[in-house]
């Protein structure tokens, strides 16, 4: 029957549309469902494994664990890390290779974690920072070993 079908179509159409409107109406009146976080006021606590940038750990005596072995430099797919080494005079008179500068290009880094995995002495780790915007991209090239820092005793 044409008329019955016609009315049925109109009825089911209205029903489907109204059920959709009921859902959106529910959200309009229930503000507790809102999930927005107001960013600068509310800051996220990032997960401990979150990969924000590579940093080098220093202890309170300003000593790091990097031997300058360049394992991370080799592991990096993007040439993000550049390690400059120097020859250091040991107390017993022998010369030994040591870290001079650990250059880290944050602008090239994809946070893939491969350098951290490659490091044999756990000298570097991922920090949980996430606000990396700067006005000049030169500022993204970082020197990770603190000035005047030394290799920790007993790290080979």
């Amino acid at each position: 029957m044409f008329i019955v079908d016609y009315i049925k179509t109109v009825y089911s159409t209205c029903k489907s549309l109204l059920s959709g409107m009921r859902l959106t109406g529910y959200y309009f009146f229930h503000h507790k469902e809102i999930i927005t976080q107001q960013y600068p006021d509310v800051r996220l606590v990032m997960a401990e494994r979150f990969r924000g940038e590579v940093v080098m750990t220093h202890d309170e005596k300003n000593e790091h664990r990097c031997t300058g072995c360049t394992a991370c430099e080799l592991a990096c797919p993007n040439a993000t890390i550049k390690i400059v080494t120097k020859q250091e005079l040991q107390p017993d008179g022998k010369k030994k290779k040591a870290l001079d500068t650990f250059v880290y290009h944050l602008e090239l880094c994809t946070m893939c974690n491969l350098c951290i995995m490659a490091c044999p002495t756990d000298a570097i780790k991922m920090a949980q920072t996430y606000e990396h915007s700067v006005f000049d991209r030169n500022q993204l090239t970082k020197k990770l070993n603190a000035p005047g820092s030394k290799l920790m005793e007993g790290v080979e």
Binding site: G20, T24, Y27, I34, I35
Partner: protein, 359 residues
């Protein structure tokens, strides 16, 4: 009791006392013009803000909340930005029409404001064919949109304008038919008569089923006529980027934007007048005490309350439904709305003749 009617009356008397009638008319026209423009500006700010907040809450987010209290000044800030933005005119554009189009759309939106009665005795132009005037003038806005689409010399704009033309022309029909049901019941085209006839109950309640059907048709038709989602094919963002106003920027874009919201306001005002008694308070037949309490709320509050409820309904549609396709849009009009509206008109006529409605 101080009401807007008193204020306008006393202003008129004060002016007439000291000046001759031509000057009085001139000053009053200036005042009316300033009031309309001020209403426009305020409406633009309020409605845009309302749209943002409604969409935000439906979309489980907060919406603008930084500029001013709860973000209330956000639209003002945006308007300021649009004002100082450069208005580009494309090289291949028809410069004259391109610049004229936003003005046409804007002027039309302003013109429809004339016969609307905001409260008792506060009306710019008490014309005896008010309803006819509104439906006649509102069709002019399509010319502005077609102008914009054509003059932009952009294929997207052209498609958007063409869609808009087909859409507005066809939806005029069912909007007009649903308006006529009320006209038949009232027996007059004048806005004031229509409002007066709802003294003891609004038409949506008095006229039961036929008027409710025509109200639903009216809401759908005006949503389409104002190019609002789910009928926003003229600017269909994901298809035509921005449709007829793709090439507009700066203040000219703001005109289109503002005209859209003013149009919504106007059609909702018409809807409120026809179906919800305009500025008439909510009255129930012979409940004297209740009616008296309702009378204490000023008419302008009633009127704006009704308008904003309708506007909210239209916004609610927009943030719930997907967009129709152009052929479905025309199918809906010609296959569903128009036959129903015609049948409904017949029903209403019968009802009016037999007097089978609440009086």
């Amino acid at each position: 009791m101080i009401s807007i009617e008193h204020i306008s009356q006393s202003l008129h008397e004060a002016l007439s006392a000291s000046l001759n009638s031509t000057l009085v008319l001139l000053i009053e026209m200036v005042i009316a013009g300033v009031l309309v423009i001020a209403l426009f500006a305020v409406l633009g700010l309020v409605l845009v803000f309302m749209e943002r907040k409604v969409s935000a809450y439906i979309q489980i987010r907060l919406g603008p909340n930084r500029v001013g209290y709860q973000g209330f000044a956000q639209t003002a800030a945006d308007t300021l930005k649009l004002l100082i933005k450069e208005g580009l005119t494309p090289d291949g554009a028809d410069k004259f029409l391109f610049n004229l189009a936003p003005l046409v759309v804007m002027v039309v939106a302003m013109l429809i404001m004339a016969p609307i009665a905001f409260t008792k005795g506060f009306q710019l132009w008490d014309i005896n064919i008010g309803v006819l005037y509104v439906s006649a003038v509102s069709s002019i806005s399509v010319i502005g949109i077609l102008m914009a689409g054509w003059a932009s010399n952009n294929k997207y704009s052209m498609l958007g304008a063409m869609r808009s033309g087909a859409q507005i022309v066809s939806y005029e029909l069912s909007a007009g038919l649903s308006v006529i049901t009320i006209v038949i019941l009232v027996g007059s085209l004048s806005i004031n008569d229509i409002i007066a006839s709802q003294q003891n109950g609004w038409w949506i309640f008095k006229g039961h089923i036929p008027v409710m059907i025509s109200f639903i048709i009216f809401v759908i038709a005006v949503t389409a006529e104002t190019n609002r989602a789910p009928f926003d094919l003229a600017e269909a963002e994901s298809e035509l980027t921005a449709g007829f106003h793709t090439e507009y920027s700066g203040m000219r874009f703001a005109f289109f934007f503002l005209a859209e919201y003013v149009n919504i306001f106007v059609v909702c005002a018409i809807g409120a007048t026809l179906f919800f008694g305009g500025w008439m308070p909510f009255h129930i037949g012979s409940w004297e005490a209740f009616n008296h309490v309702m009378d204490f709320i000023p008419g302008i509050v009633w009127f704006f309350g009704k308008i904003f409820s309708l506007i909210f309904l239209i916004m609610w549609f927009r943030w719930t439904f997907p967009r129709l396709r152009i052929d479905q849009l025309l199918n809906l009009e010609w296959k569903y709305l128009l036959p129903i509206a015609m049948f409904n008109l017949l029903l209403t006529t019968l009802m009016a003749i037999t007097g089978f409605y609440f009086k």
